[in-house]
């Protein structure tokens, strides 16, 4: 299942870091962060609960880039 989230982040490199962090989160099959459109497309693994996974994604993103936001 794929879902798109609006995000807010200031620099392109930070967006790359968010993407890395999201990809490493359990339950995420793949993630793409588009800095220009400020969107994150997350593909969840089978049976994963998007809401719970996204909380973890947000936490992991905050870890690598404090100044970022994902609008869940």
């Amino acid at each position: 299942m794929k879902k798109t989230y609006k995000i807010d982040v200031d620099c392109a490199n930070c967006a790359n870091k968010m993407e890395e962090a999201a990809k490493k989160t359990a339950g995420v099959k793949s993630a793409v962060v588009n800095f220009m459109t400020l969107k994150m497309v997350v593909e969840f693994e089978e049976g994963a609960e998007p809401a719970a996974v996204m909380q973890q994604v947000l936490k992991n993103c905050k870890k690598v880039e404090d100044d970022c936001e994902i609008f869940l």
Binding site: T37, L38, K63, D66
Partner: protein
């Protein structure tokens, strides 16, 4: 400017003013340090906090860390040496923030500009209720409802005109400025702007399935697919920062050690630590990291402005390397509309023969019969036709005004015991027999698009080495069309599956770097579109299948757009490479200068911010594609 940016601008101004004021106030010792810390913290507190958080979260190497170490280091050095020169550290932080501010402003601005360009989303639909017009959300309009579109409004939902006539501006969809005239019974596509008259439209789709929604969806999700250049830059940034930090450390420690131990000279630690700090300032990879995605974004935006929708930056990259273009004939190079091109060996007047043909075929809806009826161009009385019999794979026989008339291929003539006269022209030949005697034949052929020849020439000029045409049509027809367009390679009489095989064959024999593009009209060629390195669908207005299967969608069916798309992609990629080479080149040159002690921190920060600004401005150039 948003709130964050305004706050940043205020901080920059305050810090700059304080710094300038302090310059004129002579102070000494601890007081001087305290005073200078005010502008430093005002401009740099967030960087220090972020660097601290980075260390806590074990994400040490980033720009914040670089800037924090460099400036704190410079201040510590000034304290240690007792020079009291804190200006440099503050200025470095100040310029860094100016650079960040500019970057955020430029990106925000181009983000807005590009989204405005693509702003074809209709906000409302007018529905007539109890004789009054009411504005409703387009999402709430069901299929088959009648909506009213007034002059100046966007058509919100795909449909058919039931009342009224007008001109439509399709520029937002196709980039084509010529208005399109519509009247009752014509299909209209959402996203067009109604210019002259009031139209009543019966919707044929829901809003979510309408062209405008499909396009918006496509555009918004474009550039989520990343190009190789972008992937390269992300990887580059990941190894770059640690590498630079390592080098800076080496620069701070190794030369003094060598001097001390190897040469017996004083260590001169101050100089080398200063150089190492400057090295850190100069090394910031922002220019690179921001300008590459921005270039692609601008390129995709510019392309969609001219009616070329590209589904991702990777496709823009592939498109720029296109060396082989494979065309589907019908609908791509030709209009897919059949026209009567000649009447030969007619015993009667041509007009009369055409009349008989049109009458015999009047009950059929085959494209060929339609073209016969169109060529005849007059109303006719169907009661003149009787005993119509369709002979599958051969043609039609009937009685017209009591006379037996047959229209069909050579097989039909032979079946009726009549010897047809073979035709030398390419096309579909309709042999006619009237009253049991051969009466001549009518040549019907597909019409080449007016700018198709020009388009093939333009492709060659755009660096395409091979143009290949595939068609299910007869060899003779294919050869003639290809020759008239200047295409040398033709594969005819292919079944749909055969087209895939041919493309696979071409893919196998081509050199690795030369990319193969397939151009089709999106009807029946979805498998080929997805098999090619890059699939281009033409005339996609209203065709969902094409929009889904293709990588690049040309909104109208002008073949000139193919070379335009390639030119746009080439320009974009040129800018991307310019930025990569320029940014990395200047960076490396700066780093060398700094390591040799030929540049100080001022130059380093100017180089960093300057390169970033130039790279961003260069990236925005990708948006301008009109003259290509």
């Amino acid at each position: 400017m948003n709130k964050k940016q305004k706050k940043m601008l205020a901080r920059i101004l305050i810090a700059a003013a304080l710094l300038a004021a302090l310059h004129f106030i002579p102070t000494e010792g601890a007081l001087r340090f305290a005073l200078y810390m005010v502008p430093y913290l005002a401009i740099g507190y967030d960087i220090l906090i972020k660097a601290g958080k980075g260390i806590k979260n074990r994400q040490v190497f980033d720009e914040n860390f670089l800037m924090a170490v460099a400036t704190v280091g410079a201040i510590a050095l000034a304290l240690y040496e007792g020079s009291g020169d804190y200006t440099e550290a503050i200025a470095v932080m100040l310029f860094y923030q100016v650079g960040e501010f500019f970057q955020s402003y430029a990106v925000g601005k181009s983000r807005r500009n590009i989204s405005e360009l693509m702003d074809i989303r209709p906000d409302y639909a007018n529905v007539e209720q109890d004789g009054r017009l009411e504005q409703v959300d387009p999402d709430e309009v069901g299929i088959g409802s009648v909506i009213v579109v007034q002059p100046g409004e966007k058509i919100p939902i795909d449909g058919v005109v039931t009342e009224g006539a007008s001109s439509l501006n399709t520029a937002a969809l196709t980039g084509e400025s010529l208005p399109r005239d519509v009247k009752e019974g014509d299909e209209v596509i959402s996203g067009c702007i109604n210019m002259t008259g009031v139209l009543k439209v019966r919707t044929t789709k829901e809003f979510g399935e309408s062209t405008v929604s499909k396009i918006l969806d496509l555009v918004e999700n474009a550039s989520s697919r990343k190009s190789r250049s972008e992937a390269f830059i992300s990887k580059f940034a990941r190894i770059y920062t640690p590498a630079v930090c390592g080098s800076a450390l080496a620069l701070a420690v190794l030369p003094p050690l060598v001097r001390l131990v190897g040469l017996g000279l004083p260590g001169d630690w101050g100089t080398w630590i200063y150089r190492a700090l400057t090295f850190l300032v100069a090394s910031c990879p922002c220019a690179l990291v921001i300008s590459i995605p921005l270039s692609f974004f601008a390129g995709i935006g510019g392309a969609s402005k001219s009616g070329v929708l590209v589904k991702g930056s990777n496709y823009l990259e592939t498109l720029s390397q296109t060396k082989i273009v494979v065309f589907d004939k019908t609908g791509t190079l030709t209009q897919g509309v059949f026209e009567v091109n000649g009447i030969h060996h007619s015993e009667l007047e041509n007009e009369k023969l055409l009349e008989y043909a049109a009458l015999v075929e009047s009950s059929s809806s085959h494209p060929i019969s339609k073209s016969l009826q169109r060529a005849y161009g007059k109303e006719f009385d169907r009661s003149r036709v009787s005993e119509v019999e369709e002979l599958s794979g051969m043609g039609v026989t009937a009685r017209v005004d009591g006379l037996p008339v047959a229209a069909g291929n050579e097989k039909l003539m032979r079946h009726l015991g009549i010897e047809p006269i073979a035709c030398h022209s390419a096309g579909t030949i309709i042999h006619m027999a009237i009253g049991g005697k051969y009466a001549g034949h009518i040549v019907i052929s597909d019409v080449v698009k007016p700018r198709a020849k020009e388009a093939v020439a333009a492709l060659k000029a755009a660096g395409v080495r091979r143009a290949v045409m595939l068609t299910g049509d007869a060899k003779k027809v294919a050869k003639q069309v290809a020759a008239s367009l200047g295409i040398s390679e033709v594969f005819a009489e292919l079944l749909p599956g055969g087209k895939v095989e041919k493309v696979e064959e071409l893919l196998k024999t081509k050199p690795e770097k030369a990319k193969l593009a397939f151009v089709g009209d999106g009807i029946n060629d979805a498998p080929v579109l997805s098999r090619a390195d890059i699939g281009i669908a033409m005339g996609a207005m209203g065709s969902d299948a094409a929009i889904e299967a293709a990588d690049v969608v040309l909104m109208d069916d002008d073949p000139m757009k193919i070379s335009k798309a390639i030119q746009i992609s080439k320009k974009c990629l040129r800018i991307v490479y310019e930025n990569i080479v320029f940014a990395i080149g200047i960076k490396l040159a700066c780093l060398v200068l700094v390591a040799l002690g030929l540049a100080d921190m001022w130059l380093a920060i100017f180089a960093d911010v300057g390169v970033m600004i130039l790279a961003v401005l260069n990236a925005i150039r990708a948006l301008f594609v009109k003259k290509l």
